[in-house]
């Protein structure tokens, strides 16, 4: 990689803004399909309004949602790639610049210790002070380096969880539990239709990372049989767009099953994603 630090930062800033303001083609297609299938007029109105919002957001480069989210970064580094000195600092600078230009929501909490928990120290007025979560790194073949920016909003954080499931040596037991969690989560979420992200791993960290990885790679138009089974089961709830009732409660499921350990327990992580998830954009260096 021969890019300078300011060049890296500029590309990352662009990715932050694109992630926040743009629906990808597979996302638009999923919504268009849902509009056609939805029979309830108020549910259709919600779906059409979300598509209209995406059109305006993309055209005017405005945030799709005012909860501009916590940046989560996924870095895929080619086996033959070399990262220049200062690469991570440049990425951090790019995120900060992207959030300022967006502008992101100024939601960084000031103060130390309990003050930072009870919010009594107030908020930073600088959108750029919203620091990204720790960077996840994976290796890939080749010379390329790819950085994906995901912006994770707060609603789905309340509705998600990472917990052990006793599988009783039956995949169906785990699936039934996942569907139960998902129904519980989306029933209270409001921002529907959503998208479910699941990771199944050996530890809490691994499962949660797998769920975020599922969001990084997920495509609304490419769904495995298992993913379709979960989506169908959750849509049977009839919760519908904005919780008003209807057939489109979730548009898709993104599932990653990682390595497992010999045990009667699986660690499952769910993010009950909202109607804009996954807000993501990639930059290739």
């Amino acid at each position: 990689m021969t890019l300078s630090r300011p060049e890296i930062a500029a590309k990352v800033a662009e990715a932050v803004i694109t992630a926040s303001t743009t629906f990808r083609p597979d996302q638009k297609e999923a919504y268009q399909r849902a509009v056609l299938c939805e029979e309830k007029p108020e549910a259709r109105w919600v779906l059409e309004t979300i598509l209209e919002n995406a059109r305006v957001a993309e055209e005017k480069r405005l945030p799709l949602c005012d909860d501009t989210g916590i940046p989560h970064l996924f870095l895929e580094v080619g086996d033959e790639a070399v990262l220049p000195p200062g690469f991570f600092a440049a990425v951090q600078e790019g995120v900060r610049e992207g959030l300022r230009r967006l502008p992101g929501r100024p939601m960084a909490v000031l103060g130390e210790g309990l003050q930072r928990i009870d919010q009594s120290g107030g908020l930073s007025g600088d959108s750029g002070d919203v620091l990204p979560a720790p960077v996840q790194i994976q290796n890939i073949p080749g010379k390329k380096v790819r950085l994906t920016v995901l912006l994770l909003g707060g609603g789905p954080e309340i509705r998600g969880k990472t917990q052990r499931v006793f599988h009783h040596h039956s995949g169906e037991v785990v699936l039934a539990e996942m569907v139960r969690w998902a129904k519980e989560g989306v029933a209270r979420l409001g921002c529907l239709p959503g998208v479910l992200a699941f990771g199944i791993g050996r530890t809490n960290l691994e499962a949660a990372v797998l769920a975020v990885e599922a969001l990084k790679d997920g495509d609304f138009t490419v769904q495995s049989a298992l993913e379709q089974q979960i989506t169908r089961a959750v849509n049977e709830s009839g919760i519908g767009p904005l919780g008003l009732g209807g057939s489109a409660t979730v548009l898709a499921t993104f599932l990653k099953i990682g390595p497992q350990r010999a045990s009667g327990v699986r660690i499952v992580s769910l993010r009950a994603g909202c109607c804009f998830d996954p807000r993501r954009a990639s930059v290739v260096f």
Binding site: T49, P63, D67, R188, L189, G190, S237, G243
Partner: protein, 183 residues
């Protein structure tokens, strides 16, 4: 489409039912997790006059107000949902947000002649409906301060009115909220 111009009269609330589509134009309050419990305390301590606000007939939108725009936050977050009964008693007629409410909250809305409406979190569109904004109270809360907004044709759908709720209609198939759980 029913036009709402706050302050909202009791007679208009009586005529509204679930699934009615609304467009709201005029002054509305905007507040969420940090501001609403503080507003409830001001009312309880009889100090609302300090803010110069009148809650009679008011519309309160559960949103942050920031350079990123506005958009409904989950109304079933503890601090927001718990503010609904007291603020309805103080005269608020329309609580606007998103997400399902507990049955006891729906009942308290009915008791105080108020309703709950929802709107999609479409910030790019909703933000374009703001004509004016100012901090009405608690400026130290930043984007979570209480704001007074002037909006033009903000869209919403009635989700709970007169003891009925769109969220109950899915009822049998929906997992019931656990007792006391307020996420």
């Amino acid at each position: 489409m029913i036009k709402i111009f706050p302050p909202v009269a009791e007679a208009q609330i009586s005529s509204l039912k679930i699934f009615d589509r609304l467009v709201i134009s005029g002054p509305i309050l905007a507040g969420r997790d940090a501001a609403l419990p503080r507003l409830v305390r001001l009312v309880a301590e009889n100090r609302l006059a300090e803010t110069g606000l009148d809650l009679r007939g008011a519309v309160i939108f559960h949103t942050a107000v920031s350079p990123a725009g506005i958009g409904p936050t989950s109304s079933n977050k503890e601090e927001i949902e718990n503010s609904i009964p007291a603020l309805s008693r103080a005269g608020v007629k329309i609580h606007l947000g998103k997400g399902s409410l507990h049955p006891e909250t729906v009942a308290s809305l009915c008791e105080h002649g108020a309703i709950f409406a929802v709107t999609p979190p479409v910030s790019a569109l909703l933000t374009s409906k703001i004509r004016a904004r100012r901090v009405a109270a608690f400026p130290e809360e930043g984007m979570e301060a209480l704001y007074l907004l002037e909006v033009a044709e903000l869209p919403a759908i009635v989700a709970a009115a007169h003891g009925q709720s769109v969220f109950n209609l899915n009822g049998a198939k929906n997992p019931a909220p656990k007792g006391g759980e307020r996420q």
